[in-house]
């Protein structure tokens, strides 16, 4: 058997890893198809003629162009301000505390306070997921887009479902669009004219906005459109780059205020009878909110952050003679006096209702899949245009109510039609109970309509005394139905394919067993060699302790609080392992410095993680506590500012010096020597890049923009060259040295080839984290060696566990967390200005997982190497190495398995899309990346062929 293994060469060591990769891929594909849901998109569209099937009144035939409802506005101007927080719009008196970014869009406040019946601010509640693409889809279809589409956010596919824009297009309304190019991707053929601007370069605050402004004002004077959409991105980008509480953000808001003032003025001037904007509705809205540090997309589960992401504002203003008032029963508003002492009322609405309300106002068919309801306050803003005929003796308000009841009737009928069609066409629709519940609520409302309200309405000579209570009852019945449907859709829309998920979990468990087998197998085979150590109780203790730590970490993933604080949990475990190591080194009375150093390092990590967490939840109490003393040191002193620039460079020079010293040692032969020299060159280039990038050094380079892009590109090119050199060097080399030195040289070369890219992408913190990982790795390596009673022991799982915990800590230390807003998008644009999906995705992945996966996986051989004396032979060494890699893979796999179990258990949890699903995506990505890297590393590290040298030496 031994001989067989030796014959099969390196594949004998490698195949378990490839097998694991395949198993994991299979498991994850199966699970993901079951878990990340796709809502069935129905290929049906609403048509004008459909209305004859409904029990409701068609619009009076003399209203030409009208279709479902009586149109109340002719033109619509939608200004979308991306990531508009509710508190940007609402007066600061609505909040407990006045913040610098509030009250900047005061024109909206003034309008809604001075003309309460024609202008109004709404607090709009968006449904998750809160990324721009998802929200635009939700806004236009009136449905609930699912999480899967987040994955498509980078390549926005056209919307195939029926939607508001499509209805406009079908009914001959002309739509003009300017701003964010996501719109043109979603609706490629629907616009009369469009002026798209690229939305992905987050560093650019002004291009999109200026483009919008350039086209917005001329268009306002033209009459060749019915609906105008202007999508501004400045606030979103300013939030991503600088955060909410920053000067660029406030400048942006002030700029918008001026633009909006001008827009209102232009519209106002032409709103006279017969004017261009006589029946125009202006809507200023956000697609979603953002947290204080500018994130959205659904990560942090803190209550505050969720409301911040979900709450955005809609401001609507019509330029018609207003209706005297809306019947107070429907008013869901809260009123407060603003800073000028005027009364401002703010209503609340669901973003879901936007599409249907706008369709009703314009008189076009409602989107087929919409499940929103017509919002009374928003609908009332358009009521002024109806020429109320004096022949009716009813007051205006009652006529409006009549119309509204009819519109709701159509609304209800359309939603019911959709629900029926959906349950008929989708394999797993709503449950039977729910359907019958909906049906009964619907039947009630319809009954009432057919038997009392309709008759009353047909009879033109009723008093309002009779009519109004009846109408109110009718409207309440419709509200009840629509609310029931929306609630049901929210809670039950997402259908999990439990069979698929179960199969995925099953395969995952099988892969765990397989990995365990792969770890234990070599131990059995070498029982002869290792028998001396098998009775060693300390190994058993340490494996038990490893399993204990792993179990705590894994089980902690089952709770959302621990996932939120995973950084701290991991650090707690790391420190615990450090304390245990310290105890060990006290017993042996050696390596005290290393163990204390390791403990100190993990303490430092802990502070770094806390700073990272504070970024995640900038609103939390943490900032208040810490800013006091951090800010005291940080902000006031110029020296500190200067040091924060210089220290990374010094550390980088130190790293370069270490590498230089390593090359002097002489065990690097030609390709590796060049690789390391290349790394040193890259380090120098990075320093130059940082100097030219910052203005603090008084280096005024004219070619600054060139340097900014070219130096990172050169660094990437060098790294690619190094990797090629290493892999080709692999083909030609026959190992001339003993395998241990060879392995050290290979590992060092590989790590040094990766490090410049990772450091460059991580920014100024890069060198520090690189330094910390070297120190930490060294300590783990030394401490692993603490019991050298027997050199042949199998790989100690404890040190691998420490290695893995430390890697996870580094992930959090470098300012990441498991959420899409934890990605440092800025890193993807180092060296490149323009967006290209594959390239930016690779850079982002390297930035996110550089320190936590790439470097640890490639550095793992160090743990093996230190334990062996040179003469031990290749076979044993490689057995140990493959065992170590499998153990590392197993630890990652166990943690991922628990994440998968966790999302399965919590699939109905409130936070599932906000917290668990991103964590799931991150962990799955980490698992696959780790597996792939382990496979690559194993090809790289395991030499081809066998050598006779070890046959002689393996007699031990």
């Amino acid at each position: 058997m031994e001989e067989q293994r030796r014959k099969s060469g390196r594949w004998g060591y490698i195949w378990p890893m490839w097998m694991t990769l395949l198993l994991h891929l299979l498991a994850i594909i199966l699970f993901t198809t079951g878990f990340l849901l796709t809502r069935t998109e129905l290929p049906y569209y609403s048509h004008c003629t459909d209305l004859s099937n409904s029990p409701c009144f068609p619009p009076s035939p003399n209203n030409n162009g009208s279709c479902w409802t009586k149109p109340s506005i002719n033109r619509l101007v939608i200004i979308v301000l991306d990531a508009l927080r509710f508190d940007f719009v609402a007066p600061s008196t609505f909040f407990a505390e006045s913040k610098p970014w509030m009250d900047k869009l005061h024109v909206l406040n003034n309008m809604s306070s001075s003309r309460p019946s024609s202008a109004r601010i709404f607090k709009a509640i968006a449904d998750p997921p809160t990324t721009s693409l998802q929200r635009l889809k939700g806004l236009t279809t009136g449905g609930l887009p699912t999480f899967v589409d987040v994955g498509n956010s980078f390549g926005a596919p056209a919307i195939v479902e029926d939607n508001f824009i499509n209805q406009l297009f079908q009914n001959g309304k002309k739509v003009v669009m300017m701003g964010d190019d996501t719109w043109t991707q979603l609706f490629p053929h629907h616009f009369e004219r469009s002026y798209p601007y690229p939305s992905f370069n987050v560093k650019d605050l002004d291009t999109v906005d200026n483009g919008c402004i350039d086209h917005l004002f001329p268009s306002l004077y033209e009459d060749d459109w019915d609906v105008l959409i202007a999508h501004f991105l400045g606030v979103d980008h300013a939030g991503h780059i600088f955060g909410v509480d920053s000067t660029p953000m406030i400048e942006k808001l002030e700029q918008y205020n001026n633009h909006l003032e001008r827009v209102i003025e232009v519209l106002e001037n032409q709103s006279g009878p017969g004017g261009l904007h006589e029946n125009t509705l202006l809507v200023v809205m956000g697609d979603h909110g953002q947290t204080l540090n500018g994130d959205h997309g659904g990560g942090s589960a803190e209550e505050v952050c969720v409301t911040n992401m979900v709450e955005t504002a809609i401001f609507a203003m019509s330029f018609q003679e207003p209706l005297s008032s809306v019947p107070p029963d429907f008013d869901s508003c809260t009123c407060q006096t603003d800073l000028d002492g005027k009364n401002v009322c703010i209503s609340s609405m669901q973003q879901l209702d936007f599409a249907v309300t706008m369709s009703a106002l314009l008189g076009i068919p409602f989107p087929y899949g919409s499940i929103g309801r017509i919002n009374p306050e928003l609908y009332a803003l358009g009521a002024g245009s109806w020429k109320f005929d004096a022949s009716q003796k009813l007051p205006e308000v009652d006529i409006w109510m009549k119309n509204y009841a009819n519109a709701l009737c159509i609304n209800t009928w359309q939603v019911k039609r959709y629900i029926d069609a959906y349950s008929a066409s989708s394999a797993v629709g709503f449950s039977h109970d729910d359907l019958s519940r909906i049906a009964s609520v619907y039947a009630q409302a319809e009954d009432h309509w057919l038997h009392s309200t309709k008759k009353l309405l047909l009879d033109r000579h009723n008093d309002s005394d009779v009519l109004v209570p009846e109408l109110k009852r009718q409207i309440d019945a419709y509200f009840k139905f629509l609310t029931t449907v929306a609630e049901l859709a929210r809670s039950k829309w997402t259908e999990f394919d439990l069979k698929m998920m179960g199969t995925g979990i099953g395969i995952m468990l099988i892969s765990l067993i397989f990995q365990l087998y792969a770890i234990l197998r070599p131990t059995k085979q070498h029982d002869v060699n290792l028998s001396s150590s098998s009775g060693n109780s300390s190994i058993i203790t340490s494996s038990i302790f490893t399993i204990f730590l792993l179990a705590i970490h894994s089980f902690s993933l089952l709770s959302n609080s621990y996932i939120l604080e995973e950084g701290k949990v991991v650090n707690f475990l790391l420190s615990t392992s450090g304390i245990v190591a310290l105890r060990q080194s006290v017993i042996k009375e050696k390596l005290l410095i290393e163990s204390i150093g390791f403990l100190l390092l993990s303490t430092l990590c802990r502070f770094a993680i806390e700073v990272g967490l504070s970024k995640q939840a900038a609103t939390s109490a943490f900032m208040k506590d810490y800013s006091s003393w951090i800010a005291n040191i940080a902000s006031d002193l110029l020296v500190w500012d200067y040091a924060s620039k210089v220290i990374p460079m010094l550390v980088l020079i130190l790293l370069a010096f270490w590498l230089y010293k390593a090359t002097r040692c002489g065990f690097f032969d030609w390709p590796r020597k060049y690789v390391i020299l290349g790394t040193i060159l890259s380090y120098m280039l990075i320093i130059v890049h940082w100097i030219t990038d910052s203005d603090g050094f008084g280096v005024a380079l004219t070619a600054e923009s060139i340097g900014r892009n070219y130096i990172p590109r050169i660094v990437y090119a060098i790294a690619l060259g190094q990797l090629f050199l290493l892999s080709f060097g692999q083909l030609f080399k026959r190992n001339c040295l003993d395998c241990k030195t060879n392995l050290v040289a290979k590992t060092t070369a590989m790590l040094s080839a990766w490090s410049p890219t990772v450091i460059l992408l991580s920014g100024k913190q890069g060198p520090m984290i690189a330094f910390a990982s070297i120190v930490g790795g060294y300590c783990i390596m030394r401490l692993d060696n603490i019991e050298e009673s027997n050199k042949n022991r199998p790989g100690r799982s404890f040190s691998i566990m420490q290695w893995s915990l430390f890697a996870t800590c580094l992930f959090f230390c470098s300012g990441h967390w498991c959420a899409f807003d934890g990605l440092r998008y800025g890193a993807a644009f180092i060296g490149f200005e323009e967006f290209s999906l594959v390239r930016q995705a690779i850079l982002l992945a390297i930035d996110t997982f550089g320190f936590s996966i790439i470097l640890p996986v490639f550095g793992l051989p160090f743990l093996v190497v230190t334990k062996y004396q040179n003469n031990l032979g290749k076979h044993l060494l490689f057995t140990q190495l493959s065992q170590m890699y499998t153990t590392y893979g197993l630890i990652t796999a166990v943690i991922s398995t628990f994440t998968i179990l966790c999302v399965t258990i919590h699939r109905r949890h409130l936070m599932v899309w906000g917290l668990f699903a991103p964590k799931f995506v991150f962990d799955v990505f980490q698992l696959i990346l780790t597996d792939i890297l382990i496979c690559l590393a194993s090809i790289y590290y395991f030499d081809q062929g066998d050598d006779d040298l070890e046959l002689k030496s393996s007699d031990c």
């Binding site: 709770s559 707690f572 420190s575 615990t576 105890r583 403990l599």
Partner: protein, 235 residues
Amino acid sequence: MDRRKKDSEKTPASKASVVEASPAISASEVFTVNLLCGVGLALSLWVANTIYSINLVTDPSLTLFIISIIELPIVILLYGRYRQNRQRCSYLRAVGRGILGVPIGALLNSLGAIALGAPVTFQHLAKTLNWSLMMSLFTIVPASCVLGSSWADWKRIFAQTKPNGSIEYLICLQAYGAVIGGWFGAWPMPLDWERPWQEWPISVSYGTLSGYLVALVASLGFVLAHRRLQHVKKD
């Protein structure tokens, strides 16, 4: 929170000296010692509750301080009686080094707590300080009364966990009990239950106290079992 063997930073003191072992004590004495420690704890909680009308949740800082103040004389005076090297070391000296052990133990404990994630802000300073005082009384102080500066004994008891004789069983088990209890007590802290006791150091203190109480009982049991075993061996 866990911080075994930080003691290593202590002066690399005496060579494993040929010291006379700590005096053997009878089971009833062990019982009395443990009982007094337990009663001290109960007394301090009672004092806090009735006289100051506070408890760990409402005012952790003061409560911990009361516990420390009341336990301090009990622990030092009790364990001082079982000092090693009776000939060379007077009772007063044992008490003296016990008092010396208080700040050292507090420092080690607070360092360990910080490494594991205890908050370091100014507003938490008093809490951390009082908590580590209490921890010091449970872990380091008894040992410093009994063992003094005998590095070999410290190492043997704490690092290798090979206590020898009844009194060392008490020291070792109680220190480990308090530390491990505190370590487990930190677990509920990140949970989002929003209970007041999840604050640092309340849940950790509860963990410490319960770990310590369990260790008091367990050490008594150990001593009895150990004794019986020795009897059997002798027979």
